[in-house]
């Protein structure tokens, strides 16, 4: 399963897990752009790569060594076409 790790403005890191229903209407990159705080760099990784038993506070990624896959978008909402797809899936 793919997840998103992003770096906050206070240089801490967070782990973002997409829901299955969201993955039915959007890619993980689209979800990351929506849910990652604006301007924060993010990396898409496989969850199996995360070391178990390590708290999120211990996560660190060197941006210079591993260029981010993207940055959080300005909007915290999906584009209209994805929302329409989601509502149609829900019978709207």
């Amino acid at each position: 399963m793919q997840i998103v790790i992003f770096k906050n403005k206070d240089n801490t890191f967070s782990i973002l897990v997409p829901t299955q229903e969201a993955l039915q209407i959007a890619t993980i990159q689209q979800i990351a752009e929506k849910d990652v705080p604006a301007g924060c760099p993010y990396w898409i990784v496989d969850s199996s790569e995360l070391p178990q038993g390590v708290p999120v506070e211990a996560i660190y990624i060197d941006e210079n060594e591993f260029p981010p896959h993207g940055y959080g978008g300005k909007s915290n909402e999906f584009p209209p076409e994805i929302i329409e797809k989601y509502l149609a899936m829900k019978g709207g």
Partner: protein, 398 residues
């Protein structure tokens, strides 16, 4: 009857007859009768008119006899005659192309004349035929009057014979035509009868023995079927705008069946949505008068794993683990505003007893404090720290 001894051509009559022999038309104009007494000196060939004319009589009929003579028919009547007279002389008048009307011929009865009484008790209507010479004249006519017509027995007999012949001919033709029409009608009726007998559906529990393509049959269940040349098939009816015979429409209309539009949806107008409709509340097991409100987003996840494990969700696009006991629930579709109610419950803290709360004030300057239309940030902890929880349920109501 007066005894006239034949007609005598006048000199002018002879001259006109001579003209007629060379092609001029000989036209008789009228008859005159009179009571003139001829003396021994009277030369009838030199007469230009009767000695004593009494009546002008129109010619009723003319017939060329064929022996050089012509028969002129006129009627002697005393209608309007104020004074009777002896009919002694008859004058035949004709039209000369050069002289005008002339006395063509005369006849004289002398003392063998008849008396024509005045109009009164005695009525006189005599048909008289008088013959005169026309020799070989080819063009002989007469000015025929139709004011008085009296027919002889022979005329009537001839007319009757003509009528009989005509009647017989007409009857024969009509009978022939009627016979022809009758035969045509019989043929048409026979043809139609054959066609109807073969086209009309047969009814019965078993299929008709007479079969041909298109043959119709009403079976035991009253279904109309047709023979396609090899088997009996059910007739299908294509009603373009009906469903099972009922009118259908995409537009909400009384007494119609709704049909979906091109996208497969039925127009909203067909359904009457009412807030907190009792039927809806009953379907949701919501008894009583209190209204019902919907949960707009929810999620059940395990925050102790890395990454968090989402068990199930609704209208949630992702869960973010910001730190120990610190999560953000991101909505797939935004709330109408941020005044929604948050319901949270958790089980199984890894360490200690944590209090769930919506994070609104910690590290506001560096870490986003989220209580917005698109996400909510929640945390678990107490005065000594924070911790992850195993089963965390979050529901949003608005």
């Amino acid at each position: 009857m007066a005894d006239f001894r034949g007609t005598i051509l006048t000199q002018r009559g002879r001259n006109l007859l001579a003209k007629a022999q060379t092609g001029a038309t000989l036209t008789f104009t009228r008859i005159k009768i009179g009571d003139g007494l001829w003396s021994t000196e009277t030369d009838p060939t030199q007469l230009n008119d009767l000695v004593s004319p009494k009546l002008n009589l129109p010619i009723q009929d003319i017939r060329v006899v064929g022996d050089g003579t012509v028969r002129l028919r006129f009627v002697i009547t005393n209608t309007g005659l104020s004074q009777g007279f002896f009919m002694r002389e008859i004058g035949i008048y004709a039209q000369d192309p050069d002289l005008g009307e002339i006395l063509y011929a005369v006849a004289y009865a002398g003392d063998r004349a008849d008396f024509i009484p005045s109009d009164g008790v005695t009525k006189v209507e005599n048909v008289v035929d008088i013959y005169t010479v026309i020799a070989n004249a080819q063009n002989v006519t007469a000015v025929i009057s139709d004011t008085v017509v009296l027919a002889t027995k022979r005329d009537i007999d001839e007319l009757a014979q003509s009528l009989d012949n005509l009647s017989s001919q007409v009857n024969s033709q009509i009978t022939s035509q009627i016979n022809n029409l009758t035969q045509q009608l019989n043929d048409t009726a026979s043809t139609l009868s054959n066609q109807i007998s073969t086209v009309k559906p047969e009814a019965g529990s078993t299929a008709p023995t007479l079969t041909y393509t298109g043959k119709l049959w009403v079976d035991a269940n009253d279904f109309l079927r047709y023979y396609d040349g090899s088997a009996w098939k059910n007739i299908k009816v294509n009603f373009a705008d009906t469903v099972d015979g009922f009118h259908a429409s995409q537009t909400p209309t009384a007494n119609t069946i709704p049909v979906a539009d091109s996208s497969g949806k039925i127009a909203d107008g067909w359904l009457n949505f009412v807030a907190n409709d009792p039927k809806v509340k009953t379907a949701l097991n919501a008894s009583g008068d209190a209204p019902i409100y919907a949960c707009r987003a929810w999620v059940n996840f395990n925050g102790t794993t890395s990454p968090p494990t989402i068990r199930a969700s609704g209208n949630v696009s992702s869960i973010t683990k910001n730190g120990t006991g610190d999560y953000t629930v991101n909505f797939a579709v935004a709330m109408p505003d941020a005044n929604y109610a948050v319901v949270m419950i958790h089980t199984d803290c890894l360490t200690g007893t944590w209090v769930p709360k919506v994070l609104t004030s910690t590290n506001a300057s560096t870490s986003p404090i989220t209580y917005t239309t698109t996400a909510i940030r929640i945390g678990f902890g107490n005065s000594s720290g924070s911790g992850d929880v195993n089963v965390l349920s979050v529901a949003i109501f608005r």
